[in-house]
């Protein structure tokens, strides 16, 4: 099992969700986050004074999938979230030791 952690532009959330559903991903968790990468922040000007916004709003999508579904899921996320412009975000894949569905107490693959 792998945890896929995707940080994407907030307006791409719906596209990513639909793309994941198409490849059979059953569930995901979404968090509103702030951060910066190579894009850094941006500046806004009010009444002639410049204000620097260091941390930009992004959306973090987390989903755990079986090993054989990882490649397909990551490809779906990348395709859906891409605009080709700076600030599109990143996808991380992290190994997961175990999973339990609380209601039925099923484990690992069956719990996903």
């Amino acid at each position: 099992m792998k945890l896929i952690k995707a940080i994407v532009k907030p307006f791409k959330l719906d596209d990513v969700k639909e793309a994941l559903a198409e490849v059979g991903i059953a569930g995901l968790t979404v968090t509103e986050v702030k951060g910066f990468g190579r894009q850094k922040g941006h500046t806004e000007i009010y009444r002639g004074s410049e204000y620097t916004v260091d941390f930009l709003p992004k959306t973090m999508i987390e989903t755990v999938v079986d090993d054989d579904a990882v490649e397909q899921a990551v490809a779906a996320i990348v395709k859906a979230a891409k605009t080709g412009k700076i600030g599109d975000g990143k996808v991380f894949v992290i190994p997961i030791e175990s999973a339990i569905r609380i209601r039925t107490e099923e484990t690992d693959g069956e719990a996903l």
Binding site: E44, I45, Y46, R47, G48, S49
Partner: protein, 444 residues
Amino acid sequence: MCAFLAAAWLPETLMAQDTSLPEVPKITLETAANVVEAVAPLDSGNTAWMLTATVLVLFMTLPGLALFYGGLVRSQNVLSVLMHCFAIACLASVLWITILYTMAFAPSACGWVGSLEHIGLSGITIDSITSGYDFPETIFIMFQMTFAIITPGLIVGAFVERMKFSAILLFTALWLILVYAPVTYWVWGGGWLFDKGVIDLAGGIVVHATAGVSALLLAKMLGPRDGFPKKLHIPHHPAMVMIGASMLWVGWFGFNAGSQLAANGNAGMTMLVTHISAAVASLTWMCLEWKINGKPGLVGIVTGMVAGLATITPASGAVGPLGAVCLGFLAGIVCYFACGIVKNKLKIDDSLDVFAVHGVGGIMGTILVAVFGLPAFGGFGEFEMVPQLGIQLTALGAVVLWSVVATFIIVMICKFTVGLRVTVEDEHTGLDQSEHGETSYQFE
């Protein structure tokens, strides 16, 4: 039944007339017309308009100015700004009826401050009529009170996000007594500038110049917010800024047109030129931002509106539509660049640009009324340009000097009694929590 009511009512009317009768000989014995005027001087149309105008001007502060300023600060300071405006409104009201009204408007032989004739509103009754006008003095007291409320309210923009609440209250009280009341007497109450014939219909000098200059000095003495100018945070709620600014625009009709103290053609023209200046200044500011920053912003366009309104304020009784267009255009340009000069060149954290918008606008309008008020520009002024310019500049010089000296003394008093600033830690926490123990936005 009707006859009974009429009979019951009649003696009361007679009694009311009886009580006012002893005053008649005191006012005048000259002509029959004057006597009639003294017995029945109330004009219900003017009275109704002045009641309305008073409501409009209070609406400018509560909640107009409060929301305008509240949206411009960080989210952890929005309640403190609303609190400042509200508390100042209450404090100014109490001081106004106690001491300020008599200092500003009671007739006095001295040119510098009013007599103590109306201290604690003594001598004011239900039948008192505003001197020289035809509506109740109670309404004049209320109308002028709303000006005394908004003027220190404007200064809030200079000290947001860092000044101690106790210092704010002390500063406001002393400032109203030492700056606002005397200057009001000089210009409107029959004092030395009034006698010189200075033109200031609704407060370019009395409200905007005093508040703007005092705000700049206070901001300098208080010091900048931590992180100024590099690490400041953006206004937390521009939509709130727009809502408050729009309330200011509407309320300003009471402020300017109400200052004609009558429901007549002058009030109508004043309302018209006020609106024109606001619209032209907004568009001017918007175009400047568009050209210089690449994008026209909401905070920018509404700031232009306030600049246009502050600039037309002293001139709104003398200029015509053409003059209003010119004043609005100049307000948009000059106030826009003044913002940058104060913050980036002078390095003074006049946080919400009180001086650059209100001070510069009010001063500019006070000077230019001597030009755009001339018939050549479609104005209605009955004066000659050069002598009037001299009077306007004399008034500004005196009022600016007095505001600076008095504000300096008041700030020193605050500094050595209650202290001026919150700690750096409290500043980072935000004044909502550290000074008032409340939080503005709870997301659950």
